[in-house]
Symmetry: C2
Subunit: 167 residues, 2 copies
DNA sequence: ACTGCTATATATAATTT
DNA sequence: TAAATTATATATAGCAG
């Protein structure tokens, strides 16, 4: 889409790489917005620029809000590891984390069990297909805290489902 | 980009909405891939189709792998709530969750502290800007489990940072 | 739904300001 | 060096099978 046909290979010039990112980033953000409004699709887009800056898009739906919050936590953690030697940065991170924790403290009034959206009771094979179609490759996880975190999450999910199966 | 200029408004025809999603979904997926390879950017893209099917893209980097795994957990949970009345679906979910838990069990050999990538020691204001530029709106979270989950995560992050500040 | 086609709208690489 | 312009490549709306 430019004056020259472009090979999709890593651009080794840091300057033009950043320019390309800036342009294409805006483009894809626009596409995500269009897809979301046009088709009513729940879209979450996360982009870390070559210099590490995060840009994200999510429409106002439920799934994306949760994803956004999760990613925020992760991005803070990753920034923390990148800037371990920067005292002042750590202090700023800390302040922000405390603030977020306070907000999160107030969320407990919501309860998912009051919101069972069973209107989408589709055929069994459809449901199964969905579950199996998403198989994450977990071989590249480096943070032990993350692994444990997810492990706990999945374990709780199992317990919860098992409990509801018995009821 | 079609034969007619299109208003970016919700398409109320379910059939053509699905077709538009199918085409534009592929397009944005391609854009995400290009952005990632061309600019070396860490991109995560998550799209739920109008019928609820998840398509995701992440390059092979660390951040996105974690995000992908997180989102997988969330998507299973959300599907679970949508299909509460479907016994067989629950059983299939359960099988898959158990399998994932086993994989996660084997991840503990990685340790983030051996991988401190301090090469990006930039100016303070840059770091601060990054942290503050991402302010998630947490007002639309409906799952109490999710809120607690994130709260715990953030609390642990605080403790860890405070511990390292003292050292 | 799913391909392929084509006319047209959009995105963007190179260039200029 | 960032923003605007321009020439071209790409994406896709409307069709057809």
């Amino acid at each position: 889409m430019g004056r020259k046909r472009l090979l999709i290979k890593r651009n080794d010039n840091p300057c033009s790489r950043q320019i390309a990112y800036s342009k294409r980033g805006k483009g894809i953000l626009n596409k995500a917005t269009e897809l979301s409004t046009l088709c009513g699709a729940d879209v979450a887009l996360l982009m870390f620029s070559p210099t590490g800056r995060l840009t994200s898009y999510t429409h106002k739906g439920r799934v994306s809000q949760i994803v956004k919050l999760t990613v925020w936590s992760l991005s803070v953690f990753l920034l923390y590891f990148r800037h371990l030697d920067n005292e002042e940065f750590l202090y700023e991170s800390l302040k922000h984390l405390k603030y977020e924790a306070e907000i999160l403290d107030k969320i407990e009034r919501f309860d998912a069990l009051e919101r069972k959206p069973c209107e989408l009771n589709r055929k069994k094979y459809e449901a199964q297909e969905k579950v199996w179609s998403y198989s994450p490759d977990v071989s590249n996880i480096y943070l032990i805290a993350e692994a444990q975190h997810h492990q706990q999450f999945v374990t709780k999910a199992i317990q919860r489902i098992e409990k509801l199966k018995v009821m």
